[in-house]
């Protein structure tokens, strides 16, 4: 022990404690937050600020568009559709979330994964799948072709199955996150169903509220599915001013105003409903006794199976169409560079978003006010209808000095990171919140600098959570159509855009085959994600 004394006395007061080194150590946390702030400002806040600036300088002619009742009627119609999709998603997602999260339903992990899978695909691709399924199946024999699947009911049907998994998943995670002792204390005096109704469900309510906000925002943003089924959507009006014969960017900016207001209202709703509890609520606990379904087990299993099967049914339509149907000799899969563009830009955007999440997610769970503001900016960019963010990105980056960004795939990276970084931030914050802050404080007291603590004591034990955050962001970047279709660089369209444009006049069999490429890519990412999650659960 005498030797340890001499070693301890010698080290720690030499080169390590130079003024520069001390200063660097002290300002690491601030420096990291400043860097994250700059990134968030560039990818998420700048487009929205540019849009507001553009609005304030808009001509009277452009703003007079907002006096047209037909446009307001279309806006209300889109909002009503989004509301209906939200309500239906809640009706499907809450019971499924309860069953997946806390019941003894057989095969619940696999069924949960199958049910959630459509969420990771571009919704218009599901619409395409439904179209082919109806077209090719026996229903067609009864005189009903794929084209008869159209209008509001078809849009609502497809979007409900595409977005209900958000409600399911957040509900299930919230139910798992509820402190076991709360449940156990109630179980001592009440029957399980009563405990479920009075303790568990109220505990999950904020997560359900968040899910509602997210579903509504994605539903009102949706462009591909309404266009596919021949119904009108407000976001289409904005799109047509940027990419159609009605080309008029000034009008697009003015038309984005109602969506901007809707986005702001959604952010206010989220802050009020969820507040500071937004991470602590979503737990990753595993080891607890599931609630027994008893005699309802078979019925519940049948219903869940039916709903999960309905969610992935359109994939069967795509497979079927890819294998059956006319094809001319010489016709080939025309992916071009779109697959590489999709993968590379989504990968870089997800990596950047995860890097931001390391700093912002950590600061959020440590109750940093700056992080809370950054989280708000990113959440705003996420719930803001994609047409608004798209128009904002064009306003911010389509300038002579920034053409090197705007005319290259860099704009796709910025768009993906700006719109979906919140997913990385929130999911990594949920992971970080599972550890006691004292683990980090113990390192701090022992002299570890901020970066050393962040890497060794926060990121390293939560690498699975970070990998999941990365994969989630990657998949959402790859599924995006509504934002990138507004400004993708010429000759560098992502796979979703390629599929959407080919769908209009390409051979159906080839288009279906191309759609399956996207499905396979997403399936790969989702499989890795679910393996990481189950590995993490086993190790915990």
């Amino acid at each position: 022990m005498g030797r340890s004394l001499s070693l301890g006395a010698g080290v720690g007061h030499g080169w390590l404690h130079t003024a520069v080194h001390e200063r660097w150590r002290r300002y690491q946390r601030v420096g990291a937050l400043v860097l994250a702030t700059v990134c968030v400002a560039l990818v998420a806040s700048l487009p929205l600020l540019a849009l507001v600036a553009e609005l304030t300088s808009s001509t009277v002619d452009s703003l007079s568009l907002l006096q047209r009742w037909d446009l307001w009627a279309l806006f209300l119609r889109s909002a009503a559709r989004a509301l209906l999709v939200t309500l239906l998603s809640l009706a499907v997602g809450i019971p499924l979330g309860c069953l997946f999260g806390r019941s003894d339903l057989p095969l619940r992990r696999i069924l949960w994964l199958v049910h959630a899978f459509p969420l990771f695909l571009p919704p218009f691709l599901l619409a395409l799948g439904w179209f082919h399924l109806v077209d090719l199946s026996g229903v067609a024999g009864a005189g009903i072709g794929g084209r008869s699947l159209s209008g509001e009911p078809a849009v609502t049907w497809v979007l409900t199955f595409a977005l209900a998994p958000i409600v399911t998943t957040l509900t299930a995670f919230a139910l798992r996150g509820i402190e076991p002792s709360l449940e156990e204390a109630a179980l001592v005096v009440a029957r399980p169903l009563h405990v479920f109704r009075s303790v568990l469900l109220p505990g999950a309510a904020p997560a359900v509220a968040l899910a509602s906000v997210v579903v509504f925002s994605l539903a009102i943003s949706e462009l591909g599915v309404p266009l596919f089924f021949g119904t009108r959507a407000y976001s289409e009006v904005v799109f047509s001013r940027l990419a159609g014969i009605d080309f008029n960017p000034g009008e697009a900016v003015a038309l984005a105003t109602p969506l901007l207001v809707a986005g702001l209202l959604l952010v206010v709703a989220e802050r009020r409903l969820f507040g500071r509890r937004r991470f602590d609520l979503l737990g990753l606990r595993e080891s607890r006794q599931p609630i027994e379904l008893g005699r309802w087990r078979s019925l519940a299993t049948a219903v869940v199976l039916a709903l999960a099967a309905a969610g992935v049914a359109p994939l069967a339509g795509l497979v079927w169409r890819a294998m059956v149907g006319p094809i001319r000799p010489g016709q080939k899969l025309a992916l071009g560079d779109s697959l590489w563009t999709s993968l590379s830009t989504a990968f870089i955007a997800a990596a950047a978003a995860t890097a931001i999440a390391c700093v912002v997610g950590h600061a959020l769970v440590r109750r940093s006010r700056i992080a809370s503001i950054l989280d708000g900016c990113l959440f705003l960019a996420f719930v803001m209808p994609s047409a608004v963010l798209g128009v904002g990105l064009i306003s911010a980056w389509n300038r002579p000095a920034t053409q090197w960004v705007y005319t290259t795939t860099a704009i796709l990276v910025i768009a993906g990171c700006g719109r979906y970084a919140i997913l990385a931030v929130r999911s990594s914050a949920v992971a970080f919140a599972q550890s006691s802050p004292q683990l980090e404080e113990a390192g701090q007291v022992a002299g570890a600098s901020f970066l050393r603590r962040l890497v060794m004591l926060v990121l390293r034990p939560h690498w699975r959570g970070l990998a999941l955050a990365f994969l989630l962001t990657l998949v959402f970047c790859m599924r995006d159509l509504d934002t990138v279709i507004l400004f993708y660089p010429p000759g560098a369209e992502p796979l979703t855009v390629r599929l959407f444009t080919l769908e209009a006049n390409g051979p159906p069999r080839l288009v279906a085959a191309l759609a399956l490429v996207q499905v396979v890519l997403v399936a790969g990412a989702v499989t890795v994600g679910s393996l990481l999650l189950s590995l993490g659960a086993r190790r915990r």
Partner: protein, 248 residues
């Protein structure tokens, strides 16, 4: 300030949110001395410890470590990582993803020790706390007593200026607690590390502390050797605490 005083607190005021829990608290811990701050739950003992560590911001008062002012009023002048203190938290806060040896190695590398020196120190300290063969185990694989030993070794391995203990034996059974208290007494006597222990347990305070400070009503009511404490006023924490205090 006495020449041997290492840790000095003057006129400290602490709060939970807007509610003041400690006011005008002054305390000094000399080299080699163990001072226990005893008080009922919710009296601000842990907040006091966190303020000394720099993890909580006081409202008023001064904290000095080895003569250097580390906080004045609400200003943190020296951040926690530069105070060269060590702490054993109530739940120990061992890093679950690092082996026992890496738990010790991490704090040494944070302090700038060379890799070769780190290995020597880790081995020596694990031997010292009776865990020479457990270096490769993870904290989750250890018993409660073994985890306690790792936490102690991790706190003392880098020669801290002072040690702070936050009810470190709260979760142990009586036999194990006595065994570990013996080990802690031995280590503290050997290293002469000034120690501030916060506890509500008379056994811990009586067995380890040279002086005990009774924290009640937000301030220190008595501070003296354990055997000199008076069980008054009636109905107070001091009465029940002193009544259960065991002779050393």
């Amino acid at each position: 300030m006495k020449e041997s005083t290492v840790l000095q607190i003057e006129g400290l005021e602490l709060a939970f949110g807007t509610r003041a829990v400690v006011h005008d608290l002054s305390l000094a811990v000399a080299q080699g001395e163990v001072v226990a701050v005893a008080g009922a739950s919710g009296t601000g003992k842990t907040t006091l410890l966190r303020a000394v560590l720099g993890l909580a911001r006081p409202r008023q008062g001064v904290v000095r470590i080895a003569g250097r002012e580390v906080s004045r009023g609400a200003r943190i002048l020296v951040p926690p990582e530069e105070r060269n203190l060590a702490v054993v938290f109530q739940d120990l806060a061992l890093w679950p993803h690092l082996t026992v040896a890496r738990n010790l190695g991490f704090v040494l590398s944070a302090k700038g020790f060379k890799r070769s020196d780190r290995q020597v120190l880790v081995d020596e300290w694990l031997e010292r706390v009776g865990l020479g063969d457990r270096g490769r185990a993870y904290p989750g694989d250890l018993s409660g007593g073994e985890r306690q030993r790792v936490a102690l070794a991790r706190a003392l391995v880098y020669e801290p200026t002072a040690l702070l203990l936050d009810e470190p034996f709260g979760s142990l059974d009586i036999a194990l607690k006595e065994q570990l208290i013996g080990l802690v007494r031995e280590l503290l006597a050997e290293r002469q590390v000034p120690t501030l222990l916060v506890t509500h347990d008379p056994d811990e305070a009586g067995a380890l502390a040279d002086r005990v400070a009774i924290l009640e009503g937000g301030t220190i009511r008595q501070i003296c050797a354990p055997e000199q404490l008076t069980p008054s006023p009636p109905g107070s924490f001091a009465e029940s605490f002193v009544g259960r205090l065991l002779p050393r």
